[in-house]
């Protein structure tokens, strides 16, 4: 009856995107882009139409009374600086508030997101109008509002379940993140602190400063980056490999009291991480238990102490050691389950073929483990690049270095970011570091994650 193309379009109008809905829609559908809900109201879907229209009214009011001004402020980032006026009656100087650049930027970002929501609603309105239009043309009954609500339980379940989580993510992750990314292109440092001072857009100057050869900043950035990468690689693989070996040793046939050993090692997970980290910090401090033990054993003199956390190289080794102490039990815990899941017939077949322990480990155990745990390995690598707790609570990034710009010898990029923003209020530099960390992780993930089988073939096990 219909042409083939036409039929496909009409069969699934709810699948039509905004563009095809707008192109194929009639005048009312097209008008729904301007007056949201028009298509629904015309076809007596009052609730749905009014709801859309209310949203439009709210957004327009917001834009007129607040949004447009906020966007203008975002471009200038404020023009009036705070200044002092002499109050003759009281005989003192009073501050007259100027513009707050930080709030200008924040409100600007929020307004952009409101506009984004508006764009989304335009699309919803047109698609909804088109859907109604097609249904009507086909002479099918139009769903009323109750039916719409009911569809949330089945076809549109994802909207129901995702709404709250996505709101949370947008408000507390995406908006702040966009805000901070924009900060990287401004002069929001310790000398430009609102409300006292204004800051302004300065383009890529912060990035240039970070990479300029010979400056203290780049002299800090490259060594810190180097240590961050070394740390991430060593921390990830040391805990992974040692964890697997420990799991295999405990699980091997001859080992007795398996449960006891597992309990012994897993015990340290149960201690909250910051407790064990703060404890480790005291244990390795200059007059801490570790040095006392060494003194009692006569390995060092009675007043000597090994600078576990105050010598640059030794501090790095100590941190990696402590991280092994913390991380291995986690690997042990996850690996035990996976090891027991390896099909036993694989080992039996290998045994029949005369394979020894090493061959079975390298040909069966390791490949199987790698296959199952590659995603978690990648996550733990990226987690280690961003491993704030271990460094900050253990060494605080110290020992401090005079050659660095407010960073210590063991600072990772993230702990440096923390110091830059919280301690020094150089928000723009902190934001630059954040963006660079993102770029490093993004490149790394593109190189690895997309090659894992779990990403390529997501539905393989479903």
């Amino acid at each position: 009856m219909f042409g083939k193309k036409k039929k496909r379009e009409l069969r699934a109008p709810e699948e039509a995107g905004f563009c095809s809905a707008f192109r194929n829609g009639n005048a009312v559908t097209k008008g729904s882009a301007v007056l949201w809900g028009l298509g629904n109201i015309v076809n007596r879907q009052y609730m749905r139409g009014l709801l859309l229209f209310t949203f439009e009214a709210a957004i327009v009011l917001y834009m007129v009374f607040f949004g447009i001004g906020a966007l203008q402020d975002m471009i200038t980032l404020g023009t009036r600086e705070q200044y002092e006026v002499y109050n003759e009656a009281l005989g003192i100087f009073e501050y007259v508030l100027g513009d707050n650049s930080m709030l200008c930027l924040l409100y600007g970002v929020i307004t952009i997101f409101v506009l984004f929501v508006a764009a989304l609603l335009v699309s919803v309105s047109v698609k909804s109008a088109y859907y109604t239009q097609v249904k009507k043309e086909l002479g099918k009954p139009l769903p009323n509002f109750l039916a719409d609500l009911r569809s949330l339980r089945h076809e549109k379940l994802h909207n129901l379940l995702l709404f709250a989580p996505i709101m949370g993510i947008v408000c507390f992750t995406i908006v702040p993140l966009v805000f901070m990314i924009l900060i990287a292109f401004t002069s929001y440092d310790r000398n430009h602190q609102p409300p006292g001072n204004l800051f302004d857009w300065i383009g890529l100057d912060n990035f240039r400063a970070m990479f300029a050869t010979g400056s203290t900043l780049s002299g800090t950035f490259w060594p810190v980056l180097g240590w961050t990468l070394i740390w991430a690689v060593v921390a990830t693989f040391s805990t992974y490999i040692l964890g697997i070996i420990l799991a295999l040793i405990i699980n091997r046939q001859g080992t007795r009291f398996k449960g006891f050993w597992r309990f012994l090692f897993v015990l340290s997970i149960a201690v909250p991480q910051f407790v064990s980290l703060l404890t480790m910090r005291t244990i390795f401090s200059a007059n801490g238990p570790m040095n006392i033990i060494l003194r009692d054993l006569g390995l060092i003199g009675a007043t000597e102490s090994i600078p576990f956390l105050s010598d640059p190289t030794l501090a790095k080794l100590t941190i990696i050691g402590v991280n092994i102490w913390i991380g291995v039990p986690y690997t042990l815990l996850t690996m035990t389950g996976i090891l027991q899941n390896i099909p036993a017939d694989l080992y039996e077949a290998a045994k029949v073929d005369g394979a020894n322990t090493f061959v079975t480990f390298f040909k069966i155990t390791l490949p199987y483990m790698l296959f199952v745990t590659t995603p978690s390995l990648i996550t733990s690598f990226t987690g280690n690049i961003n491993n704030f707790n271990v460094i900050y609570l253990l060494s605080g990034g110290g020992p401090d270095s005079l050659n660095y710009y407010y960073a210590g010898e063991t600072d990772l990029l993230v702990t440096w970011l923390y110091k830059l923003t919280i301690t020094n209020k150089d928000y723009n530099l902190g934001a630059v570091i954040g963006i660079l960390v993102f770029i490093i992780l993004a490149v790394f993930s593109l190189l690895t994650y997309r090659h894992t089988s779990s990403y390529k073939d997501e539905e393989a096990f479903q």
């Binding site: 949370g168 992750t173 420990l246 149960a270 404890t279 244990i283």
Partner: protein, 289 residues
């Protein structure tokens, strides 16, 4: 026969060596915990001592830390953290389960985009946005009083929960789809399937999700510090204990710090060991088709 004997000796030798190794390692792993316990019972105060074994033992550290004499009130922090942890773990768990179920089972237009955005967002340092979050919270008027600060913490902890869906999604992926399809044939909606079939089958992952998000507030230092600032009465345990080790407090509070550590480690350890089963099950995928 000789060969058999030598093999047996070798096996015995390796077994002995393995047990020896495990004992040494076990010591290394348990010793720091032992040190914490020991110091928490130490009668003499002060931070640096030239010995490890205490000269005298006492329960006073526990009594003092709980009664909250002085400027630091541990039991109050404990209650603060408990409140934040309970609410944020319930909220986060709901978020995580919803998102991971949707990502695992439902197919819709924005799905791939959502997965990619989640991946990208995960690559930014988590607290890079901290400053902006702080001002948003402030803009919402939640930094005026202590209790609303705690509410703000709950919201911040739960706010990003929808991004941590990978493990739970992996778990849902292992539940056979045939079960769902059977239910659809019987006229169930997808919401019914989620509520009445998937959730009851997912005990390990629910416990795991609840547990991980419950532990979050106990161990988070950064966000709590930024949002709670210097309002010591509303500190959570983590920043409170950290404060005890600051220069002005360390001499007086050193042993109480360890007592406090033990006090919060015990419930968390108990929870953890109790649910270790669920953890392993959920990480390795439990429901087999």
């Amino acid at each position: 026969m000789i060969k058999m004997n030598s093999m047996r000796t070798r096996r015995r030798l390796t077994n002995t060596l393995v047990h020896l190794l495990l004992t040494v390692l076990g010591f290394v792993w348990v010793l720091p915990i032992f040190f914490v316990i020991l110091t928490s019972f130490r009668a003499e105060g002060g931070s640096s001592k030239s010995y490890i074994w205490p000269k005298g033992f006492t329960l006073d550290n526990y009594k003092n830390v709980l009664s909250g004499g002085g400027s630091l009130d541990f039991s109050r922090w404990f209650i603060n953290t408990l409140i934040v942890a309970v609410f944020s773990c319930l909220l986060s768990a709901i978020f995580v389960l919803c998102v991971s179920y949707v990502m695992s089972r439902l197919r819709f237009r924005m799905r791939k985009k959502y997965l990619n955005i989640a991946l990208i967002l995960g690559m930014f340092p988590g607290f890079m946005s901290m400053i902006a979050v702080y001002y948003i919270i402030k803009g919402l008027g939640m930094l005026e009083a202590g209790p609303t600060k705690l509410l703000a913490l709950v919201i911040v902890y739960a706010g990003g929960a929808g991004l941590g869906f990978y493990i739970a999604k992996g778990f849902f992926d292992t539940i056979p789809r045939t079960i769902d399809e059977a239910a659809y044939i019987d006229g169930a909606t997808k919401l019914d399937v989620f509520r009445k079939i998937t959730i009851p089958l997912s005990k390990p992952i629910i416990v795991y999700t609840l547990l991980t998000s419950f532990m979050g507030p106990w161990v988070d230092y950064i966000f709590a510090k930024v949002i709670l600032g210097n309002d010591r009465a509303y500190y959570t345990v983590a920043i409170g204990l950290w404060t005890m080790l600051e220069k002005e407090f360390i001499e007086y509070y050193y042993t109480q710090f360890f007592a406090g550590c033990i006090l919060i480690s015990i419930p968390i350890a108990a929870l953890f060991l109790f649910t270790q089963k669920f953890y392993v099950e959920s990480v390795s995928g439990a429901v087999k088709g």
